[in-house]
């Protein structure tokens, strides 16, 4: 997605000028905040991939001679209360945040697209069942449902995976840390797909009634052609906006869960966990709370502005006055 927007020159070569994407890119460029958001988003993704490799220290390494040090040349962001390098921990936290965001967004998008399209095409009882499930999941306040699933499902899932381990002997099922991560990720994904599925369903249903699709059908175009050339290009704008918005949301949810002590467990590094671990010493060591707070805020801020810019760029009807 970012690639498609990140390389206008490439798009230029591939497509004739004055198409949907070029128009959108031009509108997007004019929005300075959106471009900044794009830069932050790309930087965040890169840090999530390469950050831990660039870290000056091991994020778990404890240096007892450097407890709660202010930023210095040796430790650019200082050290935390038990002498771990803040910069390294924040970079490791970036990996956690990006991993959660990417994983959750992929699951959400796949589930949302599949179930939304299925709902729109199948209609009848399938449509009703899927949409009722979506309604019910959307009825829970997001964080509460995630926290609830997390709190109640850890034991049953742990038992099932232990049973699976006894049965198969595969080491994966014994690794509680990975199982823990998976429960957090699936719980966050659980609340994201209903919104997307509704959006996809609505787009397909309304587009199918439009004249240009009816005309295609009347001319005898095959279904895949209508889908590829007309349905998808017309429905994808709002979808991209929703997906880009959900990335920042997933990052906040992961941090919130970790803040409540339900998400990533120590010694894993999560920005939310870092904030709460250092909260009690705020007035003594403000930088320990400020660093992860600001990094988290800047990332979410970047994705929010990116989403906003995409919205203005891809839904041009809203900005024509």
């Amino acid at each position: 997605m970012t690639q498609a927007f990140g390389s206008p020159a490439l798009l230029d070569e591939m497509m004739p000028p004055r198409n949907l994407w070029l128009d959108a890119w031009e509108r997007f460029q004019r929005n300075r905040m959106a471009v900044i958001g794009l830069a932050i988003a790309v930087l965040t993704l890169l840090l999530g991939i390469f950050g831990p490799a660039l870290a000056p220290y091991d994020y778990k390494y404890i240096d007892m001679r450097a407890l709660a040090e202010p930023p210095s040349l040796e430790h650019p962001m200082g050290t935390d209360e038990i002498g771990r390098d803040m910069l390294s921990r924040i970079l490791q936290g970036a990996r956690t945040a990006v991993m959660v965001a990417v994983f959750v967004t992929v699951i959400n998008t796949v589930l949302g697209l599949a179930l939304g399209a299925l709902s729109a095409y199948a209609g009848g009882i399938v449509d009703m069942v899927i949409m009722r499930i979506a309604d019910i999941l959307m009825a829970f306040p997001g964080l509460l449902l995630v926290a609830f699933v997390n709190a109640t499902m850890k034991r049953p899932v742990g038992l099932v995976s232990l049973w699976l381990y006894d049965l198969t002997g595969i080491a994966f099922f014994e690794n509680t840390l990975v199982i823990n991560y998976l429960i957090v990720l699936w719980a966050i994904s659980l609340i994201g797909w209903p919104g997307l599925a509704r959006l996809v369903r609505g787009q397909i249903l309304s587009l199918r009634e439009r004249e240009f699709i009816k005309a295609q059908e009347a001319m005898g175009s095959p279904g895949w052609r209508i889908m590829a050339l007309h349905l998808i290009p017309n429905a994808i704008g709002p979808l991209i906006v929703a997906v880009s918005g959900s990335i920042g949301g997933a990052m906040v949810l992961e941090s919130s869960l970790s803040y409540l002590g339900l998400g990533i467990q120590p010694p894993g590094a999560s920005w939310g966990r870092m904030i709460v671990e250092n909260m009690l010493q705020w007035s003594v060591y403000p930088h320990l709370v400020a660093m992860p707070s600001l990094v988290l805020a800047i990332c979410v801020f970047g994705f929010n502005f990116l989403g906003d810019g995409l919205n203005d760029a891809l839904n041009p009807r809203q900005i024509r006055s």
């Binding site: 009722r132 829970f140 964080l143 941090s255």
Partner: protein
């Protein structure tokens, strides 16, 4: 309108039942056999099969799953949420004490949120693509990018420790005390982006309609065009944010109340979650969900009143 309202309310009931079912099922599967856990905790030597069976019978845990569920729902309808494992006290009275506190904060926050949001959104739409518009939308987006658990301590430090604008504001002294100012502010400001966006986008969409051009062409003063034609139609969709706002406030209360040590619903939920107190977790999750469902129902009904087209879909 009446048929529409009845239809909506009838849709509300199965959703609540489904929520009750999901909550109970997960609370049932989550902690495992409560008798086993309790017996092991009190005296593991008592844990012979016969005693456990007898205790299961006493507590009605040997009955079929659905019967237990029905029993649980019946108790909840009578306000009995069971006992907290951590404090050994009844949850029902605790909720009756705590929920009103959160409701007062939420209501005060909501009033500021709604009025402020709609005014700012209207201003942004009328001054579209000027620095005023960018400033309003930009700063609301900026604020909403800070998770509440980041914003709350930042505010406490800035306002109380550095600027010394307010005395120590931790705790609860009623809604009309200085202690409630910061929490109310947080309840409202963090959600501002949604009413601002709804109002702005709704108005901008209407501003480009033909009937607005007609109104201007016939020489109607701009003030009347805006008041009579644009605002009336453009703000209808803003009602949608009600559901979002309530949902945001329910989750927000967890962080705000624990940051300010307010003995409300959110604080209770956080305590339950950190102590793995399943009965408390079930009660708070259920209440949060019912609040959001009710807010969505009210949104739908209001929409039906404001926009008659909705009723005939």
């Amino acid at each position: 309108m009446l048929t529409y309202a009845i239809k909506r309310v009838l849709l509300f009931i199965p959703t609540v039942i489904a929520v009750l079912f999901i909550t109970f099922t997960m609370g049932y599967l989550g902690p495992g056999d409560p008798i086993q856990t309790q017996v092991m905790r009190v005296n593991p030597r008592l844990a012979d099969q016969e005693t456990i069976e007898r205790l299961r019978e006493v507590y009605g845990l040997n009955r079929p799953f659905l019967v237990q569920w029905g029993d649980w729902v019946g108790k909840i309808l009578r306000g009995d949420f069971g006992k907290s494992f951590a404090t050994r006290t009844d949850i029902g009275p605790a909720i009756a004490y705590r929920l009103p506190i959160s409701a007062q904060l939420g209501a005060a926050g909501f009033v500021i949120l709604a009025i402020g949001g709609v005014l700012l959104g209207t201003l942004a739409a009328l001054k579209q693509n000027t620095w005023i518009d960018h400033f309003i939308v930009g700063s609301a987006l900026f604020i909403s990018s800070f998770p509440i658990f980041v914003l709350a301590p930042l505010l406490i430090i800035m306002v109380i420790l550095w600027l010394k604008l307010l005395p120590s504001t931790l705790g609860w002294d009623g809604i009309f005390s200085a202690k409630a100012i910061l929490p109310i502010l947080l309840f409202s400001v963090t959600g501002w982006i949604s009413p601002i966006r709804f109002a702005r986008n709704g108005l901008i969409e209407v501003l480009s309609q033909d009937y607005v051009r007609t109104a201007r062409a016939k020489g109607l003063p701009e003030r009347l065009v805006i008041l009579r034609h644009v605002v009336k139609n453009g703000l209808i969709s803003t009602v949608t944010f009600l559901g979002l706002a309530v949902s945001g406030m329910v989750t927000g209360s967890l962080f705000i109340e624990s940051a300010f040590a307010i003995p409300g619903y959110g604080y209770m939920a956080v305590q339950g979650l950190t102590a793995n107190d399943y009965n408390v977790i079930m009660a708070t999750t259920l209440i949060g969900a019912v609040l959001v469902i009710a807010a969505n129902l009210i949104t739908d009904l209001l929409y039906g009143v404001l926009d008659p087209r909705v009723r005939y879909e």
